[in-house]
Symmetry: C2
Subunit: 373 residues, 2 copies
């Protein structure tokens, strides 16, 4: 106790553990209406045996998190009656990086100062502090930095899984993807480039088109084209030139609707089209002939399923692969903005809701990350 | 030679080998316009070494055969300039049963009188006689009868392949299919029943609905419902009762469009939807959420690809499995009609084209089989 008091940073930590805050909601609905920043019940003064106490450093707001809040996502968080709130409430957030600040008895795998990310889904990461079990987190190398650590468990593994789990690709093979400027799309470009795979990246037309094209090329994109360019018949010839006639075996889709129908026609025999999102909110519509005669297979990808169907060792190994890429400078953080929540709950709630309204209006273009002070 | 002359049946055979006929076409197009029944160049009097001479007994007109004639099918027959026709021509037909009537030197695996079916695609089975290599045919047990032998290589293997190659099904598991009264659909019902699998069979509403329902149930269908019934929300509860809440892991589709969208929603987690036809001529349109969250996978099935990717031994073994089912009385011939072509080419052509027009008008409902006398 004397030692702790002697360290100002730990002293302030103790204060925070006993006065933690979180972004909570009691009922599902429009995030800009139902989410509030609120003080919640303090954690017990000493961390329970077999647990760690973490201070969350940075927690992203992913599109799927908002779907959870809306109540339209199949992953459901646990409603809690131990938060000291007037009615039972959820803590939002699935992803984030925390620093270990307390270690309970019987915990040997982690020590104070370590950084950890959540491997258990829907942990409620939009909070300042939490007590967790070591099995629900994975230690990350601090060299990746806060932003990449905070966004490491969903988007880069999705990109990696889609590039690995459906077709065997060799150096020089082409992959085609739409929504290429999404956080996953950016990770696809970089992981593909690190494996000497070529990418054709489809994006929507937009005012800052050339700037975005340049940015994606700087990440390693081989070609960046718009949906309109892809739909133009002359692109068939161009793509054949690019690929030197070699068939494209993997397509990645987060859009749906007509752009996906067009993309699918660029795929070769025995190709896989893997869908991980539906930005257009339109269904996937494809001619049956692609399936019968070209042997196209259409798969879905959900990182949560990957976590559920792999062992802790596989999960650990997968994250280490990504961490290595990051440390080697081959995988950057997505475009992002950090929102440091004001000290006043009222002001913090207002600020957060304003941001959520902007995100809801579409094309926010940056990943928003929450920080509690 | 004396022996041959002494047998009237062989004597007539000899006459036919030297005056064979076929259903031919010089240019692709509307089958009812481009197909003609015609005498074609006689085969050499003696069968070449390593070949067999067969008299075709019965050859079906499958929908895919008509697509080949229309020039819209990826399988292309070989155009031939050895038929004695004014311009090079194709012989139509992919499937059929023939009786071996001549055996060339070096052929040991087949003898006169054997029945064979084609294992090489687009062999041109709409003919009275042919010389073939033994590697391009498979012997069939005569106990299956002419009709089942003539229709054994495409539809029953498609049903068998779709039931076997995508998901592991156990006794009591449910399969759902549309176009259940198609020749493949009927084979699915019977092969599934032989394996103790339950089937939910979706058909279009029609005047003789009850009769068809009864017929499919007599084949082994567990449930037969219309597209309208499937679309009604009350069917969700009924299907749950039928399956006792067990998830359906396999759906078979030959329709496309809205009925397939509706069918897909009845599939459980990790299910396969296998498409082998597009009767509605509409694309398959499915919400992305089925792929991401329920892990639906959408495959195509083409029996030709199966033949191309399996060894002769596997092909032989697959056909023997089907033959065993047939001999055991567990797999009937599809509803069919035999068209014996008149002796006059002109009359034969007129009769054939009339039938083709009826088929083109849709809902012919029976498989048409050609017989040359």
């Amino acid at each position: 106790m004397i030692l702790r008091r002697g360290k100002p940073s730990l002293y302030s930590t103790i204060r925070h553990f006993s006065s933690r805050r979180a972004v909570i909601y009691s009922d599902t609905g429009d995030p800009a209406q139902v989410l509030s920043v609120s003080k919640i019940a303090p954690l017990p003064d000493s961390v329970p045996p077999g647990h760690i106490g973490i201070k969350l450093l940075l927690s992203p707001i992913n599109p799927a998190d908002l779907n959870v809040v809306q109540g339209v996502y199949p992953s459901k968080p646990t409603i809690r009656d131990d938060l000291g709130t007037p009615s039972p409430a959820f803590i939002g957030g699935n992803e984030g990086v925390g620093q270990v600040e307390r270690v309970g008895s019987n915990v040997t795998e982690l020590t104070v100062g370590d950084w950890v990310v959540m491997t258990k889904p829907q942990s409620g990461t939009w909070a300042s502090h939490a007590y967790l079990e070591p099995k629900d987190v994975t230690k990350v190398d601090k060299r990746v930095g806060e932003t990449r650590a905070a966004t490491i468990t969903v988007n880069p593994p999705t990109a990696r899984g889609m590039l690995s789990d459906f077709r065997t690709l060799s150096s020089g093979d082409y992959v085609i993807q739409n929504g290429a400027n999404s956080a996953v799309g950016q990770a696809v470009i970089q992981i593909a480039a690190a494996r000497n795979l070529k990418t054709i990246n489809v994006i929507r037309d937009r005012p800052d088109l050339n700037e975005l094209k340049k940015y994606l090329v700087s990440l390693g994109a081989t070609h960046v084209i718009t949906e309109q360019e892809l739909a133009d018949k002359s692109m068939r010839t161009k793509v054949k030139e690019w690929t030197q006639g070699k068939e494209i075996k993997l397509g990645l889709n987060c859009v749906g609707g007509e752009p996906t129908t067009i993309l699918a026609k660029y795929l070769g025999h025995d190709a896989a089209l893997v869908s991980y999102g539906a930005m257009s909110k339109k269904p996937i519509s494809l001619p049956t002939s692609l399936f019968i005669f070209k042997n196209l297979t259409l798969y879905g990808y959900w990182q949560r399923r990957w976590y559920e169907t792999h062992t802790p060792e596989e999960r650990q190994s997968m994250l280490q692969d990504i961490i290595h890429l990051m440390i080697a400078g081959k995988l950057k953080a997505p475009e992002h903005e950090v929102l440091t929540l004001p000290e006043s709950d009222e002001e913090a709630t207002r600020t957060l809701r304003e941001k959520l309204q902007q995100i809801d209006a579409g094309r926010y273009g940056k990943k928003l990350l929450l920080r509690f002070n």
